[in-house]
Symmetry: C2
Subunit: 601 residues, 2 copies
């Protein structure tokens, strides 16, 4: 049985030592946000999710969800009670707006806590996570009346929300969707069509489920310009706002999936279901992107959460299991064998796991803080700069965060050897659960295209240029400190590779758009390396400073310096190879006739 | 439901065009081995495994094995019948010795066919694969009488065999094992102890199961020098060699695993079971390595088999599923969307999949052919050279072959998007099944240590020096042909990186063995890249030659040239980054105090 401890010390280091909290405190509404306020909240959240939620992870995966003959879905034993405890403890509303019953904290704190929830049970945490996205869309596009009707009960967690995008023939390509919405004449619409892969589409955790459904009105233009968003509640709220009449749709089946078994993935059949337009007709895709943007960071965080949990269990095993002897002579001669942690190849995997996980945590939280600034700062230049970074890094946090989730989970399973392949030990679940994060909310290849095709050229490349400059400035500043010089040099070199790759794209993209497509994933990986490497340089600077100031937890700070150095020497060198592969261009891969891909017998 | 076509055309290309068949035909016993003999066997095998076995893969994974209350184990529906058909068709005996009832073909042909079997249903193919390993150990170390008693029925597949190594506390470190063997006074021993992770330890496919069990005799030295091997049949053969008395051991449980559900992974309880010594007392580990060496190539082939099957289904989906439009304008304007295969990032994954899979097939078969030469040639120099290559490349075929299996399966699952995460589509199974191959038969980190710690320094580095020279010679020869020059240049550069890494190891290993440990995995990956790159250069040379000679299947040969170029430009550049990471050495990763790996709350 795996164990989980919320990495509160590490979250605090990121928030208190690496991020620029005073800058956030300068944002109206967050004046009181400082280390003294953060620490007890993180401590309490960490304790709660580790003790109350984490023990449900393995059993709820083994049991899975059940669709009953009447079309209702029953979640694994105990989850309903635990859901109520999460809700009642107030963990769902930390960073939601005060005016709707939230607690008004910065989003960065909400995300820090969400990581603990998601590590504790990712499949279970999805229901409230998706609800938060639905709330954002309704708040952004719904009428005042609609907001008043749905938002408070969704924020409180009494009701949950979903996104209904995918149809059997329309996944990434939403322009293909066919679900119809016919006006009923009373301001409502009759929604008819089939949706698939609807996470938390039907379940027994909440008294009502509010679906946001993409559909086409009768005369809508073809493609993505003819999509509208509708709110389609399972039970239509009555005059008092309580769940009333059952709406005309149902869950036709739940999928048997590789992982996230504790979350029901539903096919939904809408048969003239009553729905109301959210925002303007034919502007549904833009409305859906409001939830998808927030959701992309959250999915990146899911990757991080699985990496963290897997890392913890990999490290614990390496310090418990005895096999073989150290290459430099027995370390524990009185024992039958040394601990796994004496073996360099095991340590390499553990160091990689730490370096990716802690670096990714810093990047994810830094990006969330930029949202807080972009949305709340009263300084226009600060807002713009922060928003540029959010736009640029959102696909990176999603794509790289989830690749890290899969890679670290696989490495930590490897540390466990054969025992890692046995389901009761929990390592396989991290691999299986993390795997979906690379696919949903826009497959990582789609994130890469969003980055390279849309985000990079925005405002003439303003965002990436700003990032290059900030990285170079930090490299320059750190180069004089001998504890930091190697780290700074490696990051400077990787940043140089990224600049070269950017230049290649500028020179080779316009003539052949396929060069943009073939380069996209490599570019995303490079930007992931550089931005996480940047967070590591900042972390190393902060750790060195803390040591200079006589930090109480010197071992923690020394470990930060060592892990930063490992990221620099052991992971950043990939930037060069990625640049070379990117520069191979599209010619060879596009030259193969399509039929030649099929295997002849 | 996934589909499978045996890649007969590609196997034939490797055997007929890339490998040096005339050299093999010079080996006594294989004089008739040529293209005319190979083709019909491969065709028939391909048809059989695709039609008879492949349809069992998905359903047998979904159903899994059942342990009955009496300790017997029932395999998924239909597998017993299919097993009998495989056996009766003679597919298990192709390359086994004539004198024991085999068909006496070269091992390389047996392996080529084994790939089809393993692609068709890896979990199911394990039972006969393990039997083949057990047969090898008994033939190498067992008495004439023991061979006569067991080998013919194991070769025919009437009986199966297993390896019993692992105990709960003794995985990689076999020196820790505790199972006892007490002499009964009649030449037999009473075996007592618990073994875990025993693949095919108990099942209903064969009338008898012959376990090879590692155990300690009463006065055995500690550690690996005190291990003996015993043959412990489920039913003790009677005077006529038929299954007689039930032996005193049982399957206590079967594991719930991430994958290979159609193979029962058993915990075995030996309670004074009757066994007979195989070979000399205390020499059990050496005997077990006979099976393990053969098994390592076979596990590498398992990785290949899952990569191949996943690739086929990824490619088929990319040529069937329509999402989005080509970046250079609609390719099928009359359709609602273009095929996935128009997208460069999808093609990149497909090209990677082809390049790894076909290159790995060439390397695996080339290595198998070296065994045929090493064991059968009447030219001592040829035998030695071939044996050097087998020694050097066995851990590489296992380590890299299985990494390729996991990586390609994951990429092809990604091509399928959300549908790849749904179990009924079969892509998840490839990922889950392939995952174990990186762990068992010596985890890949252990393979890397075997390579760098034992194989590389053998005979003063004779094997790796021979490989460097052969690669350089092929690079030199190919450089003049403009179709091959880019491929040759890239391979030459990667070979240079590998030489530099070898030099670094020679200079930095002796002073600190941990540098060998931290470098091992990177070195294995580099040698994998170079040796597969070498096979690609040879494949490209062969394809260019075939085109010059007016090959009938020009499209096949052109695809070979393109895929070789993709390997050169799109994958070989990793060699440089691997060399840099290798040269980071062990200092940083060994500097972290062990306790600092544990996450503080």
């Amino acid at each position: 049985m795996p164990t989980y401890t919320a990495p509160v010390r590490d979250t605090r280091f990121v928030l208190e030592n690496v991020l620029d909290l005073p800058a956030l405190a300068g944002t109206p509404g967050f004046e009181d946000f400082d280390a003294d306020m953060i620490a007890p909240i993180l401590e309490e959240a960490g304790k709660f999710f580790a003790e109350v939620v984490a023990p449900t992870n393995l059993p709820s995966d083994r049991q899975g969800c059940t669709r009953n003959p009447d079309g209702t879905v029953t979640c694994p034993d105990g989850l309903k009670d635990v859901y109520d405890r999460v809700r009642e403890a107030g963990w769902l509303t930390l960073s939601l707006p005060l005016k709707h019953g939230g607690q008004g904290m910065p989003g960065v704190l909400g995300m820090a806590v969400e990581e603990y929830f998601t590590s504790a049970n990712m499949a279970f945490a999805m229901t409230s996570g998706l609800t938060a996205g639905a709330v954002e869309a309704i708040m952004a596009r719904g009428s005042e009346e609609m907001q008043a009707l749905y938002v408070p009960k969704m924020i409180s967690g009494e009701w949950s929300g979903t996104m209904n995008l995918t149809e059997p023939h329309a996944g990434t390509d939403l322009g293909l969707l066919r679900t119809r919405a016919e006006p009923n004449g009373d301001g409502s619409f009759a929604i008819t069509g089939s949706k698939i892969f609807i996470s938390s589409g039907e379940h027994d955790l909440t008294e009502n489920i509010i679906h946001l459904v993409l559909a086409r009105t009768p005369d809508a233009p073809k493609g993505t310009k003819g999509i509208s968003m509708f709110v389609v509640p399972k039970f239509i709220p009555d005059a008092d706002g309580n769940p009333g009449e059952r709406n005309s749709f149902s869950c036709g089946s739940i999928e048997e999936k590789m992982g996230i078994h504790a979350n029901p993935t539903c096919s939904m059949n809408y048969e003239g279901a009553t729905g109301w337009l959210v925002g303007d007709e034919n502007k549904g895709l833009a409305a859906m992107f409001i939830m998808m943007n927030a959701a992309r960071l959250w999915v990146g965080l899911q990757g991080l959460s699985q990496a963290e949990n897997a890392y913890q269990n990999g490290a614990a095993y390496a310090l418990d299991r005895r096999q073989g002897r150290s290459l430099t002579g027995a370390k524990d001669p009185s024992e039958s064998a040394d601990l796994l942690v004496v073996h360099p190849d095991v340590r390499r995997m553990l160091m990689d796991g730490r370096a990716w996980t802690e670096g990714m945590r810093a990047l994810a939280l830094w990006t969330c803080m930029q949202i807080d600034i972009a949305e709340g700062s009263d300084d226009e230049a600060a807002r713009q700069k922060a928003d540029d970074m959010v736009q640029l890094l959102t696909p990176v946090v999603k794509g790289i965060g989830t690749d890290i989730g899969s890679n670290v989970a696989n490495d930590m399973q490897q540390v466990w050897g054969g025992h890692g392949y046995i389901e009761e030990n929990g390592m396989a679940q991290f691999v299986r659960d993390a795997r979906i994060t690379r696919i949903y909310e826009g497959a990582n290849g789609v994130q890469a295209m969003d980055l390279v095709g849309r985000k990079l050229p925005m405002h003439g490349g303003r965002a990436i240029q700003a990032l290059f400059a900030e990285v170079d400035a930090d490299v320059e500043k750190a180069s004089g400190d001998e504890r930091l010089a190697e780290i700074a040099t490696a990051l400077g070199k990787a940043n140089g590779e990224l600049k070269a790759a950017s230049m290649w794209l500028m020179q080779n993209g316009p003539a052949n758009p396929n060069n943009v497509g073939s380069a996209a994933y490599f570019y995303m990986e490079m930007l992931g390396l550089v931005s996480i490497g940047w967070m590591w340089l900042r972390s190393a600077v902060a750790a060195a400073k803390a040591l200079d100031e006589g930090a109480e937890d010197a071992a923690f700070m020394e470990a930060k310096l060592l892990t930063a150095k490992h990221f620099a020497l052991g992971l950043l060198p990939d930037a060069g190879a990625l640049r070379r592969k990117l520069q191979a261009g599209a010619d060879t891969i596009m030259a193969m006739p399509a039929d030649s891909f099929l295997r002849a017998g």
